[in-house]
């Protein structure tokens, strides 16, 4: 139980600093977005000097400091990959440092500023813009080019999500989204044969579950992942949470209000108890007290271990389009690795190798980002139904500092509305006003 708690907390913290990098910038821009910053110039020189990228590193022994936040069930898989890499590359020693995500995003900027940071690491794509704006991480366009990674091998959403201000900052490792977990025993008892796919079938399923004696089949969390459910529903309803240029928040739109009203309606209709505090909907699901919960696919390994009979399906289309919130782990490099030719070369080898091996990463309940690998890797895995719907996932836009904006405003509005302390409209409106204010401040401090 403690382990789960720790893990859940990690997930919870994730959102606190959520700020995403989704962009529809064209690939062409990504490919030619070089040479505009000092780092880029240095990097360009580096790749030129290194010549053709062969995937091999034959320079002197180097040590790479590699930071990530895989503290949950994903940790052992990452450690296994690193061990394997070290074994296959005797002249590169990758030294991993695992810090839970909550602290990760506080510590990396500080460490890099002090020159004690990682050479290479993994962060969430919604953090890339923030850290790019703070010059913690450097553009990787030339790396992507040298690795011959291109949009063809990734779904457009995932690929373009690593781009901030026309430059690529992240090499996608995986995608992880929100999904609908359901208790298969409960479904069987209620006579539900197919997982619901739209509002009609979803509500019918809830009613059937109630009729079968599961009085509160769908607990509605006020905190994590409540705001991720809200974002999914907002997108489904045709809304957008934030302006892509970072100038204003838009989650208080009519679409947003409807989405939040639907969520609160689940409580009002008695499908959920009131006052569902953090994590309790998930614990209840594991204990078989509730039948359906929407949570991230990274919970799969934990649910497997808990023994609860479950399956998962994409989030149903409650509104017009079947869309889901998602995030992605992306490799980054810091400015310090650019200064050292050998380290830079080794880091490229490392990222390329990891990207090739990302099939194994599916075991960590993630969906590999590369299409050439994905299908085989997730075949027969619990996350398979989601992996086939990657065009239906949505990321937060690449606006620096948006993670804090969201945790300071949207998350609390969602909590207040679901707890019944404020009307959805009033909650979203005041939060939206404050969010826009914060975003304007951010635009100013990040230099617009």
């Amino acid at each position: 139980m403690m382990r789960t708690t720790a893990r859940q907390r990690v997930r919870t913290r994730r959102t606190l600093a959520t700020c995403a990098v989704t962009v529809t910038a064209a690939l062409a821009l990504a490919a030619c977005g070089g040479g505009t910053t000092p780092e880029e110039v240095a990097g360009g020189g580096g790749s030129e000097g290194a010549g053709e990228f062969t995937g091999e590193y034959d320079g002197p022994d180097v040590e790479l400091s590699y930071w990530n936040g895989f503290t949950g069930g994903d940790g052992p898989f990452m450690q296994g990959l690193v061990d394997q890499f070290n074994e296959e590359h005797p002249n590169i020693k990758v030294v991993p440092n695992t810090i839970q995500w909550a602290d990760f995003y506080q510590r990396v900027p500080a460490a890099v500023n002090a020159g004690e940071g990682p050479d290479v690491g993994v962060m969430h794509l919604d953090q890339l813009a923030t850290n790019a704006a703070r010059s913690v991480i450097v553009p990787l366009d030339d790396v992507a080019e040298a690795l011959e990674l291109s949009e063809d091998d990734f779904s457009e959403e995932v690929w373009s999500a690593g781009i901030y201000e026309d430059q690529r900052y992240g090499i996608p490792l995986d995608v992880h989204s929100l999904a609908m977990f359901y208790n298969t025993e409960h479904f069987e008892a209620a006579g539900i044969t197919e997982p619901p796919t739209d509002e009609e079938s979803f509500m019918a399923a809830l009613d059937a579950l109630q009729a079968a004696g599961y009085q509160q089949p769908f607990w509605m969390p006020a905190r994590w992942p409540g705001h991720l459910m809200f974002l999914s529903l907002l997108w489904q309803n045709g809304g957008e949470p934030y302006a892509e240029d970072g100038s204003e928040a838009r989650f208080g739109s009519e679409e947003g209000v409807e989405a939040l009203q639907w969520m609160r309606g689940i409580v009002d209709a008695g499908y959920s108890p009131s006052d569902v505090a953090q994590d309790s909907q998930y614990v209840a699901f594991k204990n078989g007290e509730t039948s359906i919960t929407w949570d991230g696919i990274w919970q799969i390994n934990d649910l497997e271990a808990s023994g609860v009979p479950y399956a998962l399906a994409p989030i149903p289309a409650i509104f017009d389009e079947q869309l889901m919130w998602a995030n992605s782990h992306q490799f980054f490099m810091t400015k310090q690795v650019r200064a050292d030719e050998n380290k830079y070369e080794a880091a490229r080898v490392f990222i390329a190798w990891m990207s090739e091996q990302s099939a194994d990463w599916a075991g960590a309940a993630m969906i590999p980002a590369r299409e050439s690998i994905r299908e085989e890797a997730v075949s027969g895995m619990p996350q398979e139904p989601i992996a086939n719907l990657l065009d239906n996932v949505r990321f937060l836009p690449p606006v620096p500092g948006i993670g804090t904006v969201q945790s300071e405003t949207l998350e609390q509005a969602v909590a207040n509305a679901i707890l019944g302390q404020e009307e959805p409209q009033a909650a979203l409106e005041s939060a939206q006003g404050r969010a826009t204010e914060l975003m304007q401040e951010n635009l100013e401090s990040f230099g617009g």
Binding site: A17, P109, A110, D275, A284, L419, F446
Partner: protein, 320 residues
């Protein structure tokens, strides 16, 4: 000093004075550097971890200070003005967090002063198993805030928690949302904090009680004082210096409350239990607005300083 006066009869004081004279001569012989040498290790820590941060913090509070950005423009007193300008975005956020801190302090300090005293009085008596009980009351204090927070978060959960389950079994209302509704959330936070830290105050009280000379009680009994009169006229005056100390550290500890609401309520239901320290940490460490956060810290410090003066004034030695 006042403690010596209460606890030690006259001749003991003389001995102490003689000792002091003797040691003073010794110091003079070894030069004036000796005391400084002894103080040096602490002084180094004090300067680098208290004095310098205080000065640096003041400097930071005058800037828009994001340490990851190259520019840290000087803004003078703007950060402070924003905190006191009801039109600024940060005004209500900061003062709501100050109010949360205030509510918590007002609710928890009296309990943390009175309950541990009662415990200490009971533990000061002779009865079988006394040491066990002393340990039992002190035990929770050994736990870290993370353990306490996570433990009680599950115990107090409105829907899956044990507390409501047993309340229901006893026929009491079992639908109190301890962590997601006010004012229940304050009851939960204060209750957990009292359970957690009571032992510490009790130990200090106990030490002070044991310092009160038995002769004073004997004399009081000879004069015909009953238990209550003994408490009012012997125990309470004997505790006064310690009481001032406990009051002060309890107020400061309560005003610094962070972990409990961070872990148990995430500042919720919405942001009602987001205390000042919570807000400072969020602003400075997560949002990188070190300037705003530093200014908030100084305002909070100012409040605590005024409060300290007030407490010392309340507990001052009244000479009749």
């Amino acid at each position: 000093m006042s403690q010596t006066r209460v606890a030690a009869p006259g001749d003991t004081v003389d001995v102490v004075r003689r000792d002091q004279r003797a040691s003073r001569r010794g110091v003079a012989k070894h030069g004036k550097v000796t005391p400084w040498l002894f103080l040096l290790p602490y002084l180094v820590l004090f300067i680098s971890f208290v004095l310098l941060p205080i000065v640096l913090g003041l400097w930071i509070s005058l800037h828009r200070w994001d340490y990851t950005l190259p520019g840290k423009p000087f803004v003078g007193l703007e950060n402070y003005q924003d905190l006191f300008d009801s039109g600024s975005g940060i005004y209500s956020i900061f003062w709501n967090s100050m109010r949360a801190t205030g509510i918590f302090t007002v609710a928890s300090v009296p309990l943390l002063l009175v309950l541990p005293l009662l415990v200490a009085l009971a533990m000061n008596r002779k009865f079988p198993g006394r040491n066990l009980f002393r340990a039992v009351y002190f035990a929770p204090y050994v736990l870290g805030v993370a353990v306490v927070g996570v433990l009680w978060r599950y115990l107090l959960d409105a829907n899956i928690g044990l507390v409501n389950h047993y309340l229901g079994a006893l026929g009491l209302p079992d639908d109190t949302a301890w962590l997601t509704s006010t004012p229940a959330v304050w009851v939960a936070l204060v209750g957990v904090t009292v359970w957690w830290t009571m032992g510490y105050n009790a130990v200090i009280y106990l030490a002070a009680l044991q310092d009160i000379p038995k002769e004073l009680y004997e004399a009081a009994r000879v004069d015909g004082a009953n238990r209550w009169q003994q408490f009012v006229n012997v125990t309470f005056p004997g505790l006064r210096p310690v009481l001032a100390f406990i009051t002060m550290i309890t107020i400061i500890a309560s005003a610094n409350m962070f972990g409990q609401s961070y872990l148990m309520t995430q500042g919720g239901p919405g942001r009602e239990t987001r205390t000042a320290i919570y807000q400072i940490a969020e602003t400075g460490l997560r949002n990188f607005s070190m300037g705003d956060a530093a200014a908030m810290s100084y305002v909070l410090t100012a409040f605590l300083m005024v409060l300290s003066v007030l407490v010392f004034w309340l507990f001052r030695e009244r000479r009749s």
